[in-house]
């Protein structure tokens, strides 16, 4: 079966797989959202401990999914890996920093002799929750707005802005507004998800006031994310995009490119609308009822929205990593991918992914079927 797949199908398949991993990562940013909510919804040390111990059992999943997203892109679209990571240097270095400090903060925060004190580690978690997600969002924004790079005959990258990627958010331009909007949407969405997850995972019977704060935060963050969401959707309907216009792979600016992509692939429009609908339904269930299952609707909604956001700039003959300074250097799923042989090998490997998802789901169920209580935070193994 896999042997029969042609190169083009493999390239589409692997962009889909990378998009699924990326979309799952966006769902799992409920960890980052929860971290950035810490000081807002937890008013006592016990409340803080509860939140940290809930998120602390899941931070590694988010982290690992991010690493896999990077690994999958490296294996299947190495030209993107080399161009973006080597080019937009400062963006990726800063993202890395926020994730390095996250990794130790859970383990170190409450341990005696941790040198810097709990507050510092909580601050690092906040930075990861806000700055990390914001930058990742802005980086995703450049899939639509383009970047400042040029590739030579050997496909080696030269970045034309001295800000090395930070110009995506700092340069005074419409592109920056779009990129920042994408980042802020993801930040507020992660906070919405964080509140939903904590409502679902914590036993809050003894501290109803924190439950009230969490449900309120869920609603507030949805409201805060909406303007950015609307700005992004409206922009996508009117934006020019970077299209492949002939069989040689020539790239040209195409008006209403992303609207055309949505109309050419109505299922993507369906995914986007279903995703947004589910997200809002999940928030409504959490904020306006006493239900705790909103995270599942919100999570699925985020995955569907994430899938659309990642597939829309790549499918239908579109350059997913456009160059603003040299159109023909733009990356497409056709010119940036690995060889057919490698993509086939990786497709065989990907057959194992459902098995991985199955045991992750089982363990998730086994560990989450009992909610986390205040007494769990007294355990010496606790964070």
């Amino acid at each position: 079966m896999i042997e029969q797949l042609d190169y083009k199908t493999l390239q589409h398949l692997w962009w889909l797989i990378c998009s699924v991993v990326g979309a799952l990562f966006l769902f799992l940013t409920f960890v980052q959202g929860g971290q950035s909510l810490l000081w807002q919804v937890a008013k006592t040390p016990t409340e803080k401990d509860l939140i940290i111990n809930s998120l602390g059992r899941k931070w590694e999943m988010t982290f690992t999914t991010l690493v896999l997203f990077g690994g999958a892109l490296f294996a299947s679209f190495p030209k993107f890996y080399s161009t973006s990571f080597g080019g937009a240097y400062w963006v990726w270095i800063l993202i890395l920093f926020t994730f390095i400090v996250q990794a130790v903060s859970y383990e170190f925060r409450k341990k005696p002799w941790n040198i810097y004190g709990s507050l510092v580690y909580e601050g690092l978690l906040f930075i990861n929750g806000v700055v990390g997600v914001l930058l990742i969002g802005a980086a995703v924004g450049t899939f639509y707005t383009g970047s400042n790079f040029q590739l030579d005959a050997s496909n080696f990258v030269t970045w034309t802005s001295p800000l090395r990627g930070l110009e995506a958010a700092l340069s005074p331009s419409v592109s920056s507004i779009f990129n920042i909007a994408m980042g802020l949407f993801l930040v507020f969405n992660s906070r919405t998800l964080g509140a939903m997850y904590l409502i679902n995972n914590l036993e809050l019977g003894e501290i109803p006031e924190m439950e009230t704060r969490l449900r309120k935060a869920c609603w507030q963050n949805l409201i805060l994310s909406l303007p950015f969401c609307l700005l992004i959707v409206a922009s996508l309907l009117f934006m020019r995009g970077y299209g492949i216009v002939d069989a040689q792979g020539t790239i040209e600016i195409v008006s209403f490119k992303y609207l055309r992509n949505l109309l050419a692939n109505p299922w993507m429009l369906g995914l986007l609308l279903a995703g947004l609908g589910l997200l809002i339904y999940g928030v409504w269930k959490t904020a306006k009822t006493t239900e705790t299952c909103g995270i599942w609707y919100g999570g699925l909604g985020t995955v569907l929205v994430g899938l659309t956001v990642l597939m829309l700039p790549a499918y239908n003959n579109t350059a997913f990593y456009p160059s603003k300074v040299d159109l023909q250097s733009s990356l497409t799923i056709y010119n940036a991918s690995s060889s057919p042989y490698t993509l086939k090998v990786m497709t065989y490997v990907a057959l194992g992914i459902p098995f991985v998802l199955a045991y992750v789901a089982y363990v998730w169920w086994a560990m989450n079927r009992t909610k986390i209580k205040i007494e769990d935070t007294g355990d010496r193994a606790a964070y």
Binding site: R57, E60, M61, F63, T64, V67, L68, G70, G71, A72, F74, A75, S76, P78, K79, Y81, S82, T83, F85, G86, G87, Y89, W92, I93, L96, F99, I100, A103, V104, E107, F108, K111, P112, W113, N114, I115, A153, S154, N155, F156, V157, T158, R164, S338, S339, Y341, T342, V345, V349, I353, V356, Y359, V360, V363, A366, M367, D379, R380, A381, A382
Partner: protein, 512 residues
């Protein structure tokens, strides 16, 4: 591109990668080894129901947790640094190198991440059996991740299963099985994981010895030592054997590395292995200075035996490998560079002809390229002497590793012997030595990686891609800035980690 080469940037990027890798490798071997030992302790607890084993398991688990977090933190940088500092490398070999990294993510990291939470927090949440299974899965996951990253590293040392595609201007995978099951990768994996097991054993012995010296947690310390010393002895003997196998493999595919870490300038039959010697740091491959300063001892024939499995065999020296040796049919870097330059020129001409749509000329240049393509990497060297890695650093690192590695089985044997006699607690000299064994293990292990990576220079991919070409187009100042950012961050985290670890050891298992 090459004309604009900023060597300062390349060196800073190398320094940054070395910094990250060396920090990472302080924590990783402990994770790789101690997860098996904890799984072993946990199994004894589940089998016997003895609470003492549970306390012991939880104690070592807690120390592992502190170590694990910082290992993860330093690990993510390694993956992304390939892109940020070595973007040309990522493009040139991403078609091959990316696959093991992705497989590592899919199969190993998820196993580790998923069951890690169960291992730590599953005591009253899941069944005893599933909890134990989770502990074993963390060990399997950690070591599976080592498999794939070492497959990737082994491919950099011995690039099999690939071919250069002149149309895409990159190396592409031709045979995944050759990449995944290369003998070099197997040796690398067995050597790295068995040495990690002995380091974990030393970690446990260091702390347990300190407890015995202080007269604290006597029972736990003795039990921990017996298991750790048994596994450590097996691992240390195995490490010596597969280390020898690694040396043989290096002699076959990276003879320059072997010559450098033995300080062998002139090729010899019946070549001796240096037992003691002070390498002459000033000596160059083209001068007549003595390779060693003053007194040195060679064990006759042992290097020939190690390199070729035959006492009387010829082992090429650095001079043979740079300037060639017709008598022994060895091509030197000089000859390889000539051919490499032809490959580079043919490749450029092929690209031009293709661009001009001149198919006949393109075919001619392609045929010429194919004739010389195996020497492509040498075409980018400026002078043949560049093919020699830093000799003194390679030599010293190799000998530190070998001397310490030979000592380790004796230490484990000593612990087992006195444990068997029942008077270990009275052997203060051994316990004193025992407290620093973990540091000795770290030294040996770090030295091993210096041999592997410094010895591969000037190549990122042996013979195919020089480090100078593999870099990202960044200024030296940019990489310098991030180097010091990482250095400061890692050091701050390491200080916190050591402090927490010391406190946890001081608290001991009772309170845990």
């Amino acid at each position: 591109m090459i004309e604009n080469l900023d060597l300062g940037m390349v060196n800073w990027a190398r320094a940054q990668f070395a910094l990250t890798a060396m920090y990472h490798w302080i924590f990783v071997p402990l994770t790789l080894g101690i997860t098996w030992i904890i799984a072993f302790y946990h199994s004894i607890y589940v089998k016997t129901g003895n609470e003492e084993w549970k306390r012991l398991t939880k104690f070592w688990m807690k120390l592992f947790g502190v170590n694990f977090a910082i290992g993860v933190a330093t690990g993510i940088i390694m993956e992304f640094e390939f892109g940020t500092n070595w973007s040309n490398y990522s493009w040139m070999v991403g078609d091959i190198f990316g696959a093991p990294l992705a497989i590592e993510g899919i199969f190993a990291f998820f196993l580790e991440a998923t069951f890690f939470a169960v291992m730590f927090f599953g005591w009253n949440r899941v069944s005893k059996g599933f909890h134990l299974f989770s502990t074993w899965m963390v060990a399997v996951g950690s070591n599976l991740s080592a498999v794939w990253i070492l497959v990737a590293n082994a491919w950099m040392q011995h690039p099999v299963g690939q071919a250069f595609n002149p149309d895409t201007a990159r190396f592409e995978m031709q045979n995944f099985a050759e990449v995944a099951f290369s003998p070099y990768a197997i040796n690398k994996f067995t050597h790295a994981t068995s040495s990690s097991m002995l380091m974990a054993a030393f970690f446990i012995i260091s702390i347990s010895s300190w407890y015995l010296l202080r007269g604290r947690h006597i029972v736990m310390a003795k039990r921990s030592i017996v298991v750790a010393a048994t596994l450590g002895l097996l691992a240390s003997v195995f490490t010596i054997f597969n280390g020898d196998e690694s040396a043989y493999e290096i002699a076959q595919v990276q003879p320059m590395k072997l010559a450098a870490f033995e300080g062998l300038y002139e090729g010899q039959t019946n070549a001796g292995l240096v037992a003691i010697g002070l390498i002459n740091r000033e000596k160059k491959v083209y001068d007549q200075q003595e390779p060693f300063i003053g007194f040195n001892v060679h064990i006759p024939g042992l290097l020939s035996l190690m390199a070729n499995r035959s006492f009387g065999s010829f082992v090429p020296g650095m001079k043979d490998l740079v300037y060639g040796n017709a008598e022994h049919n060895i091509l030197g870097a000089v000859q390889k560079m000539e051919r490499g330059k032809k490959a580079v020129a043919s490749l450029d001409a092929y690209k031009q002809a293709k661009k001009a749509d001149d198919k006949a000329a393109a075919d001619v240049h392609l045929a010429s390229f194919n004739e010389y393509k195996e020497f492509l990497g040498y075409g980018y060297l400026n002078k043949p002497e560049e093919a020699v890695p830093p000799v003194a650093l390679s030599f010293n690192a190799f000998h530190v590793m070998v001397i310490l590695g030979s000592l380790f089985p004796l230490i484990f044997l000593g612990y087992l012997y006195f444990s068997y006699k029942g008077n270990l607690a009275e052997k203060k000299w051994l316990l004193g030595l025992g407290t620093i064994t973990y540091l000795l293990g770290i030294m040996a292990s770090q030295a091993g990686w210096i041999v592997a990576e410094v010895g591969r220079q000037p190549w990122s991919i042996q013979d195919l891609l020089p480090t100078t070409i593999a870099r990202t187009n960044l200024t030296a100042g940019t990489v310098q800035t991030t180097f010091f950012m990482f250095l400061a961050l890692f050091t701050l985290l390491l200080i916190a980690e050591i402090s927490i670890m010391v406190k946890q050891i001081n608290i001991g298992p009772e309170e845990n």
